[in-house]
């Protein structure tokens, strides 16, 4: 067992002590070690996954496990893996680079995929047995220049367009949908209600949005996880400034050192409530510094944060609020870490058409990501909503009430259906 064995749960520690990881192929074990090394910063769903994964391997007979990993075990020496370039328990950028540049990389990927193709069905069946109804609401901003017929075009055929009786006061559209009440009542959102219910708890309900309007609905206290691009503005600007100064100073020898430096750039308490929860604070840092374009483009932040939340936290209720991104100013592509408003006095302008094109892809990516996991398949209702729009798209199992709704549905009635669906 390597000296840098991560601190994990007692269940997992017992398996590690039995030498389970040591018996696995070098690259597989190293990757797992790396994923588990910050155990305290993992979401409960991630911890559960590793416990189930290694529990399954432990329960399986020796010859079965041997057969499972045989192709990978045979491939590793051919790739030149050894104790020197793949020390036990280490999976850094150097190992990633080793894989990427290795002529056998495609075969390695195939061998790893083969392993999971045999493990996943068993783990998925376990997840499905413990499944429950889930809800995902994806909101498009009101300024999009498109009618319902031109929304969600990539997968519209998978669901049903539901006619909505929209309120006269446009600003009440989202409050009525998400709380069943006008915003002045400060009623809890569907996310709040689920989080405080018997299947809820920490990290079960998420709001991820470009603006801050959805996050402001409902009570301030509660177990709802909230990530807002707008609300993280102070943190984002500090990160941009710090990254730029690191780059300018040229103190960093290479990507590995840069990665280590970026890990230190944590959110401060003055920059958001997320700082009080180490898991959520680290998630915010990772989203902003390892996601493509998440510092720069509001909708990229929303998409990547949600995709990562699904992969890692498996929320039961998710409200995803996209926005309108600004037009790109001259030279913006060169000034990745500069404050665009300061570098160019031309006023920022909304790019509504560009945002429409961007979001058509992101709706699909978000929906696909949920559907990759057994927890969501066949028991999740997806509502794709345009703020103020008179139709929404519902993709859901046949027993989701809105799938059989006729005529325009009032938003409080939609909210009622959502509560019923989640058994709140």
């Amino acid at each position: 067992m390597p000296a840098n064995t991560p601190k994990v749960s007692p269940v997992l520690q017992a398996l590690i002590d039995k030498g389970l990881l040591d018996s696995l192929p070098r690259s597989f074990a190293a990757f797992c070690f790396d994923q588990m090394k910050d155990w305290d910063l993992l979401f409960p769903a991630e911890r559960s996954y590793f416990e189930r994964l290694f529990g399954l391997l432990d329960r399986s007979s020796g010859p079965v496990v041997e057969r499972l990993f045989q192709p990978l075990r045979e491939l590793e020496p051919k790739m030149g893996m050894n104790e020197k370039n793949w020390p036990r328990g280490q999976f850094t950028l150097e190992q990633v680079d080793f894989l990427n540049r290795n002529p056998y990389y495609p075969e390695w990927r195939a061998a790893v995929a083969q392993v999971f193709s045999q493990l996943d069905p068993v783990l998925d069946a376990d997840a499905a047995r413990n499944g429950h109804a889930r809800l995902v609401i994806v909101i498009a901003p009101a300024q999009l220049p498109a009618d319902p017929g031109r929304m969600w075009t990539r997968f519209q055929g998978r669901g049903k367009r539901v006619e909505i009786d929209a309120p006269e006061r446009a600003e009440e559209f989202l409050p009525l949908l998400l709380t069943g009440e006008e915003q002045g009542r400060r009623a809890p959102t569907i996310a709040h209600l689920f989080a405080s219910g018997k299947k809820g708890g920490a990290y079960a309900s998420w709001i991820v949005e470009a603006g801050a309007g959805v996050s402001r609905l409902g009570p301030e206290a509660g177990a709802v996880v909230k990530y807002s691009y707008q609300s993280l503005g102070q943190y984002r600007k500090r990160l941009m400034k710090e990254v730029q100064s690191v780059v300018d100073a040229q103190e960093i020898a290479g990507p590995r050192q840069l990665s280590a430096r970026l890990r230190q750039m944590k959110i401060l308490a003055s920059e958001g409530d997320l700082a009080h929860d180490p898991i959520l604070a680290e998630f915010a840092r990772a989203i902003l510094l390892s996601g493509n374009g998440t510092l720069l483009i509001n909708n990229t932040f929303v998409e990547w944060a949600m995709v990562q939340a699904v992969r890692r936290a498996r929320p039961s209720v998710a409200i995803v609020g996209f926005g309108i991104r600004n037009k790109v100013k001259p030279f913006s592509s060169l000034l990745i870490y500069a404050d665009q408003d300061a570098s160019n006095p031309i006023p920022s302008q909304m790019d509504t058409l560009g945002s429409y094109v961007d979001l058509e892809v992101f709706y699909q990516y978000v929906w696909q990501e949920f559907e990759k996991y057994a927890e969501y398949r066949n028991n999740t209702a997806y509502l794709f909503v345009g703020d103020g729009m008179e139709e929404m798209l519902a993709i859901a199992p046949a027993d989701f009430p809105l799938m059989t709704a006729a005529g325009p549905v009032k938003l409080p009635a939609v909210f009622g259906h959502l509560k019923d669906w989640l058994s709140i």
């Binding site: 290795n102 002529p103 493509n292 990229t300 998409e303 001259p330 060169l334 300061a342 094109v357 961007d358």
Partner: protein, 384 residues
């Protein structure tokens, strides 16, 4: 004001004018009789998927290439079987062997580039082979680490966008009125950076080539002026790449050029619309490059243009994050296309798969150069 040494200039400003201290011909020489007098390789750097280009739903993004396809030879399947990083992909195109060097460009290509084969065998001068690219790591793209070739036979490498970056950052740092919206100020800084860096290089490595220095510098400045004062706001690094490449063609008429466009790598930002806009812009600039070939007497009727994506990008259904990345190794990442244009190129197309490494082998044949030990094979369709 920042002092630019040669090392800093090459690393940061990204301009490397190779081998100008060598004796020999200064202007383009044409000692080797090849099938095609000149070869220009254009890469859609950063990577682009079939689905946004030559797939039926992508044709609207590339109207110029679609029109050119009728006149050229189209390889429906050009496969990148190598490492799916930018440097290794382009290095594979240029060397004819799959490159697996350091991803961040700290290593030069491991085997001789087409530039080196061409210059060593033909005796062509240093101004006869150019690479106009964008990414800073491409400063190492002009020549390989092979000791029997290397820098003495390498290409000039110009990274216009890195010059722009230096200038724009300087404008921002100084906080002048108008910021980067002030085109005159940006242009002054561009020229300033070019002068500081170039003079520094000149003093360091030139024994007798000062005049040549000035010629190169003036050529590059002309490209900068056209770019900054163009009819549209100068937002695109690729437009600058185009103007610089065109000036190099007009001034030096090199026989071998790599033009590596890059704007579409904005896909990493996660904006599909910006990615599509960049593709369409690169399509337009490639069309303009072909027009330059058709109107420039040094190139007309004696040039083969090879256009191909450096790599693809991840498919929409991939486990990564779709068009944002190019790390999955799926078909969307590896399967691209290649369009060949030229007087000697017969119109047509084929389903026969070719590979990125075949480009160097084919270009070598076109230039009349013998390149040994290449994994790539010449494309007979272009060697009639």
């Amino acid at each position: 004001m920042m002092r630019l040494t040669k090392r800093r200039f090459v690393q940061l400003a990204g301009l490397s004018i190779a081998n100008r201290i060598l004796p020999g011909p200064l202007m383009a020489q044409e000692r080797v009789k090849g099938r095609s007098n000149k070869v220009i390789v254009v890469t859609f750097g950063g990577g682009v998927r079939y689905s946004e280009t030559f797939a039926p739903e992508g044709l609207q993004n590339i109207p110029r290439l679609v029109a050119l396809r009728e006149k050229g030879y189209f390889f429906q399947s050009c496969i990148n079987s190598g490492v799916l990083s930018h440097f290794n992909s382009t290095a594979s195109i240029l060397t004819g062997n799959w490159q697996r060097v350091d991803d961040f460009g700290f290593q030069a290509p491991a085997g001789p580039t087409l530039f080196e084969y061409y210059r060593k065998q033909s005796g062509a001068g240093p101004l006869d082979a150019w690479a106009v690219a964008t990414n800073k790591s491409f400063a190492s793209m002009g020549w390989s680490s092979d000791r029997s070739f290397g820098q003495p036979y390498g290409a000039n490498v110009v990274l216009p966008k890195q010059l722009l970056l230096e200038a724009v950052q300087e404008v921002v740092t100084r906080g002048t009125a108008g910021g980067v919206a002030n085109r005159d100020d940006v242009l002054r800084r561009l020229e300033g950076v070019l002068s500081e860096g170039y003079e520094g290089i000149g003093w360091t490595i030139f024994q007798a080539g000062r005049k040549l220095d000035r010629q190169v510098r003036e050529t590059l400045v002309r490209g900068l002026v056209e770019y900054i004062n163009g009819p549209e706001a100068p937002t695109s690094g690729d437009e600058l790449t185009f103007f610089i490449a065109r000036e190099i063609m007009r001034e030096f008429a090199p026989r071998l050029i790599l033009v590596n466009f890059w704007d579409m790598d904005v896909a990493h930002w996660g904006s599909y619309s910006l990615y599509l806009n960049a593709i369409t812009r690169t399509d337009r600039l490639t069309g303009m490059l072909w027009e330059e070939i058709q109107t420039n007497q040094s190139y007309k009727d004696k040039t083969t243009l090879l256009v191909l994506p450096e790599l693809g990008r991840d498919g929409d259904k991939n486990a990564a994050n779709g068009f944002l990345n190019h790390r999955s190794g799926d078909a969307s990442c590896r399967n691209t296309w290649l369009l060949a244009m030229g007087t000697a190129v017969p119109p047509g197309q084929t389903e026969r798969p070719v590979h990125h490494v075949d480009v160097a082998a084919t270009a070598a044949e076109l230039l009349g150069v013998k390149a040994a030990g290449l994994a790539g094979k010449p494309m007979p369709e272009l060697l009639l």
